[in-house]
Symmetry: C2
Subunit: 377 residues, 2 copies
Amino acid sequence: MRMKTRQEGLHPRPGRETRIPLISKKLCALATAAALSLAGCASPSSPEPARGAAPASVPAGPLVIERQGSFFIGGRDLRSDTLSALPAFASTGTIVVDQMYVRYQVPAAAHHLPMVLIHGCCLTGKSWETTPDGRMGWDEYFVRMGHPTYVIDQASRGRSAVDPTAIVGARTGRAAAPQLPNVFAAGREGAWTIFRFGPEYPKAYDGLQFPLEAQDELWKQMVPDWSAALPVPNPTVPALSALARKIGPAVLVSHSQSGIYPFQALALDKAGVAGVVAIEPGSCPAADGDMRPYVGTPALLLFGDFVDRSTGWWAPRFKACQAFAQAVNRAGGRIEVVRLPEVGFRGNSHMIMQDRNSLEVAGWLSGWIARNVERGS
Amino acid sequence: MRMKTRQEGLHPRPGRETRIPLISKKLCALATAAALSLAGCASPSSPEPARGAAPASVPAGPLVIERQGSFFIGGRDLRSDTLSALPAFASTGTIVVDQMYVRYQVPAAAHHLPMVLIHGCCLTGKSWETTPDGRMGWDEYFVRMGHPTYVIDQASRGRSAVDPTAIVGARTGRAAAPQLPNVFAAGREGAWTIFRFGPEYPKAYDGLQFPLEAQDELWKQMVPDWSAALPVPNPTVPALSALARKIGPAVLVSHSQSGIYPFQALALDKAGVAGVVAIEPGSCPAADGDMRPYVGTPALLLFGDFVDRSTGWWAPRFKACQAFAQAVNRAGGRIEVVRLPEVGFRGNSHMIMQDRNSLEVAGWLSGWIARNVERGS
């Protein structure tokens, strides 16, 4: 069913004829004749979009992939005597934990920087894929716009293994209950306000862009979160740093819980990180700390609508992130803080990449990256 | 690094000019002129391959995707008072469990049946993606051969959420240890013999096809397995049945632990299931049961090499599955049991889709499906 509700060709594209036009005109002409769509086969007259405007449609038609696949970054061996209580599987042995799963697609004639899409709390890389109401996700959008795109599952989430040894240990009496991981799940009733769908479950804000009619598909995306059981910084952070060195220069795009991860990765190593986009960061580095790791890398802190109405959660987080950006900029950095209504988009929830206008926002974001990261780099 | 070790264009393709040639010759000519590769743009003289032969190469060059995305099947609401022990997230609320994550790609001019790839124990859909040594996975292979291809994460695995409420409950003293899920992890030392890499860890069989130099990448794929904590049949089974009804007629391709799932799905509902391929099934339906659900659907039980040497694990499983197939065939069914050495492939481990000759085997399998499922249906 979801496949049938896709609405390709209705979405805007940013102006993005920037600096690496690798695709040949001949190939574009052939593709057009064959009713194919190649990323990079732009209309030669694509204008630079006005902020918040919807200048043209996303390339529709077949998607041409140069290469795709998946791999892991990081991970450490863990030897344990409490792997299993089942007779068929040995209780003692060695597993790997802390690795980060990465799936990628490189479009034919990629001519923009690689993007790394990093999901938030209680979610997996699925966040960036097909939206709950069946529209194109940002993963495909950025590929179609000419960006090699990498979608990760945080360490201990999704296809990145968790450490189950304390569960087996507690179940078999070889570990105490307090040793169990501090795992948690976010119920929809609480997530409702954190995702800023409305003031309280199930009331919605007027003009909300999230497709509430498809909310069940979002709740199915949510998985238990082990981050409180992991060290700080999260093992995802060094893995992101290693990924950026491998594929970069790249733009790290984080969301919510992972908002701070690209900045923590910069503090580890600036190599490979061309720019940072933090979508509704749940936290930012402290504004009174050492700002040197964050100077010299263009960054955007992007928030949706209704932020001020979330007095208990998002309003203070926005202020703290604003203070961080100001501190970086005072030290000579280039961090921009944008609330979407300021650039013409209204009604966005915390789940911007799934809102009805998700691809319009992605188009604006693509333009921001072209102007501030690609041309500036 | 892995991206650079891909070896496209070295692999065989099966004869597959079967019954649904939807792609136009004009489009194929344009694609050829543009140095693109479209699934379905076959050489007109592609022969039917001999068993085990390597007749031609996999289509190389860019991959043309008609549409792709992801969605969930199934799931049930679970209300709990032990969702979280963290102050930021409510302990009481509603989550969804038992849903099955599905990612799909439909090639341009798909002209073969949809395939559903179902991973085994302690693994996720990653099993079918890029191999540990960086070669094309079966997920992409079957797309390139013209099959819409669906890769799932079993219920309670990977991107399909687990139920964490007993863990939170036990940690906070509101549940007893025996209520903890009977989760387990497979250590590499035990997995070594179950995966038939050799007689004991770390000794390898002579002629083994698994790329042991890249084994660390396999160990990183492994995740804790909750199947012993789930009802029988596994919630994946009704989800597979629902998926087949949604996208079918389709071929269900299972592996190891999930080997029996397509048969359990047939017992629920034959609708949408065009054929079954069980790669090294860990179990089969009992040979003395009701065979009627399995009659009328072509099926293949495919095993690798060294089966007889696995006296404690695979030899008895092979025998039981062989007895099942014989019982179905006596009742008028069409189940074929094949050990790869019988058709010219030697050295295959349990992880056939990751072995060095994985795409040669996939090519043979594609031919089997064309002959037995597509032409026969």
